[in-house]
Every structure is written in structure tokens, then in C-alpha cells.
Amino acid sequence: MTSLTDLGVAAIRDGVRDGAFSAREVAEAFVGAVEKGRLLNAFVVETPERALSAADAADEARAIDALKPLSGVPLGIKDLFATKGVQTTAGSRILEGFEPVYESTVSARLFAAGAGMLGKLNMDEFAMGSSNETSGYGPVISPWRRSDGGNAPLAPGGSSGGSAAAVAGRLCPGATGTDTGGSIRQPAAFVGISGIKPTYGRCSRWGIVAFASSLDQAGPMARDVRDCAILLEAMSGFDPKDATSLDLPVPRWETNLDADLKGKRVGIPREYRIDGVSEDIGRVWDQGIAWLKDAGAEIVEVSLPHTRYALPAYYIIAPAEASSNLARYDGVRYGRRVQPEQGGLADMYEATRAAGFGAEVKRRIMIGTYVLSAGFYDAYFNRAQKVRALIARDFEEVWKEADLLLTPTAPSAAFALGEKSADPIAMYLNDVFAVPASLAGLPAMSVPAGVDGQGLPLGLQIVGKALDEQGVLDAGLAIEQRAGFTYRPEAWW
């Protein structure tokens, strides 16, 4: 028999329903995997009691025929989601010890659907990073290793690196992630799992620690497309507490999954063929094109002329929003306080923020403060918002010729810890393919498609029109069925 920790969300849900195993057995297996997986540093807080009590509730519900959509499924929750009574740090030391008195809408929805919580997942500090190295709680180590035998510890990607490592390492069957400029898709690609960022506004941002509010979106990370569809359905829905929440019904994404792409036009944006991308990436991309053709899609070459300006525009807009959002960490209402002797209120603010924030967060706050400051607002922030409008317009034009887009998720496979941490711009370039869809608020997902010469996973990204998560998931499923991605990291931990 396969180990229970090899099962995904759908298999656990169905197995509990059919009585193949109890929810308690599943929860115990994953609690054990979390304990055994501590070397990965994927969890900041473990909550075995929460996973076990939800499992017991699921087993009781089954006995009275009252199972819920996620009964028996234990999940990992990214530490950006406020969880009532359970420490929530956003990967930052400035929030160490912070125990919210409320629950985020997304995690509340998952728990209301019967899911349990295995713990809070490590992440880049305030979701600012692409490698998990900016976490205040130490980097997450990817479960993957290169086949060269060197055993260099690899980055799981970021910012949802704990979510990625935990799902790939079979520490949990699924996890929540958040994506501001690729933070679900890039880590999913790095560890060979699936992850979807829905249309901006599908998932409530209420109770998610804010980074860049016009970009932040929650989404699921899991081992296959169906599991993503199941989790996304439970996470989505209108929430009056989020002013940008979409007041629309949640489609039945899982039920409607259909890998037949006849009649669909898939665009291949020529601007995504950039220099400095490995041959392996191009090979997997070409393979993906062939797979979608095989699934019935028509392939069309398209152009998104402002693509190269997406990343620099993002690195004005996101830091600008972050500098405003992170002004709240001042040592007054929650989190850490550092009070210099003889110092006044302003000294307390400055000392608290100097001690509590890491280097990358300080860098981005300062960039954001600068581009919003008097005399620079028009030249930087306003111009970036205009470029953002042009990027969104590019997509609008492309949708006249195509229904979906297929691109690589990231420009490389996972890199080693420390390899890029000295050069911020090299690190930012990781998200070159992910950021345009974020700026335009479009649904986008990464699915594993193959491995590179070192045996490391490579992902393909599908971008869809606003609200067409179904189209994105369907194309993801078509790739998944043809890629036959069965690689998995060998457990060395």
C-alpha cells in the first residue's frame, strides 16, 4: 500500500469518504512527516493538535453522513495568513509572538470546509523574496537536490517557499500560498508541484498580512491540477471585508475540469523568448506547445510589446505599496518594540523598525519611500502606473487572438542557497515571466513539465483572461496528463 502521505487532496477526501482509511490516520501520518521533516525548515509553527482535532471532527462527520468538501484533509498555511490564537509572523522577526485575535477569511473558509491545519509555513519576510532566504526564521531548504552528487542546499523559491517545500516533500498534501509577483508560481515550478494565482479579487485579502495590496492574491499549492481546483474553490468567494473582493459566484472548477482544448487558441508571446534563459527551459516550452496542440488547441504566436517593462514597473509599484503598508509596524500596537534609553517616540519607531526588519524589507521600504517622496512621485510612481496600464492593454489586445497564453514559469531551475542573494536585481529577474500577469490581475498557474540536466523540476505557466480560472486549470490538466511528471525528491531529511 502506498503511504498515506503520498496521497493528494482529492485522494484523501475520497478515501476518508469511502472508508479506505480514517481522517485520524491521515492526520497522524502527516503530523509524523512534519516532525521528521524539520531539517527542511518549512514550518515556523507546528500545530499537530489542530490537525488531529479537525481529523476527529471529520471522522465523526462521516459517521453521521455530514462530511464537508475538505473533511479529513490537513493543510499547511503560509505564515502570511492571520490564524486566530496561532503565531503569525509573515516571516518577520518584527511580528515574533504575534497571535492574531481573528482568522483570515481564506483560512476560515478552508477550516469551515473541514480542513485541518498542520502548522504555519515559512516564507520570505513579508513575502519579499524569491528564494526564502529573506525569512527571519532561516531559509527553507528545498527537498530537491541536483543529480551531480554535490548536495548543495537548493532554494525552494519564494516567497511561498515553505508551502512549496512542504508539499513537494510530502509534509502536507496541499498548502495556501500568496502571489504578489510570482510567489506561488515560481516556488511551485522550483519544486515540481502545481500552484494557481486566481484573478485579483477572487480570494479575500482580509487577514492576509499586506505587502502590495493591488497585487496580493492568495491561491493554493498542491501536487496536481485537480487538487488546486478543489482548494481554490474552498478559498474563493465574496467577502465584504475586502474592498476589492469580487462579488461573483464561485464556479465549480473541479467538476468542470476538462483537458480537451478543442477550439481554444493558445498564444505564445514572442517577447518571452529572452536572452540568458537555459536551453532546458526552451525545450520544455516547445514540448508544452506540442502537448497543447495534441490536446486540440490551436497555437498562435502573439506579441506583448511592453513585457520588458513589467519588472521595473513592478519594482516601483510593489515597494511603494509596501512602504505604506509596513508603516504600521511601529512598536505600538503589536509585535516587537525597541525603546532606546532616553529616547522619545520617534527614536522608538526608528529603533524598532531597524531591529525588526531584515535587509531586503528595509531595501524595499526605502525604494518605495523614495519613489513616493515629494518631487519623484510623478517621475516614478505615476509613470509606473501608466506603464502598468499599457501592460494590461497588451493583454487585452492579445485576447482578441488567443484564449490562453503558455510561457515558462521561471527563467531557470532552482538555484543554490546563497547563489543570488548578493545581487538584488539578479534575484528580481526570477519573476520576469510571472510579474506581467500579476500587474494585470490575471489568473495564472504553474504546472510541472519536466526536469533539467541536473534532474531539477521545470514548470510551465498558463495565463488566462480575467475570471477564466477554468481555462487555465483545463490547460494545466492537459499538460499534466501529457507530461507524466512522476519525479519526486528522494527523502534525505
Binding site: 484573478t199 493591488s214 521595473p312 519594482y315 500596537r333 522608538m348
Partner: protein, 95 residues
């Protein structure tokens, strides 16, 4: 755009982050690099383009101006580093 130490100190002051001399020396070239890279946006023709303010057209909703959640003073103060007499406590501001 070249950022010198004077500008770094000014931004740090605006951002309320204390910085040491060593940090200022390290941040000046880092921020210059990033801002220099961002500079490429100046070559985009944005004449007549309105800045984007919402990714999905979505009219902001209004609600009645009434208390929706109240009476949770203890909860609000629970995570405060210092609270006194039902208030957040800060160092003395007025002598």
C-alpha cells in the same frame, strides 16, 4: 539616478528606520543600482495614458456608517507591547 549617503539618510528618516554608517555606505550603491535599473521606464511613451488604479473594474461599495464590530477593547490591546488603562502606551511625547 545616483543615490548618495545624504539621500540614503533622508529616505531612512522618512521611512523611520535607524541606519548605521556602515548600512548607509552599503545602501547607497544598492539603491543606486536598483533605481538605475528602474530608470528604463523613462523610455516608454506614456503620453495620453491614464495611470492604472484598479486591475479589475470594480465599483467600491459603501456600507451604512454604523458600528459593525465593537466592544473588543481587550482583544485590540492583547498584542500591544505596552498598554495602560485601556490604551496603547507610548513613551512620553509632551513634557
Amino acid at each position: 539616478m545616483s543615490v548618495d549617503k545624504h539621500i540614503v539618510r533622508h529616505i531612512a528618516k522618512l521611512a523611520r528606520i535607524a541606519v548605521s554608517d556602515d548600512e548607509v555606505a552599503a545602501l547607497a550603491p544598492e539603491l543606486s543600482n536598483i533605481l538605475g535599473w528602474i530608470e528604463q521606464l523613462q523610455e516608454v511613451d506614456v503620453a495620453g495614458v491614464e495611470p492604472m488604479t484598479a486591475v479589475i473594474p470594480n465599483r467600491l461599495r459603501l456600507r451604512d456608517d454604523v458600528v459593525t464590530e465593537g466592544g473588543i477593547q481587550a482583544d485590540v490591546l492583547r498584542n500591544a507591547p505596552a498598554a495602560e488603562h485601556g490604551f496603547f502606551a507610548v513613551p512620553k511625547v509632551i513634557e
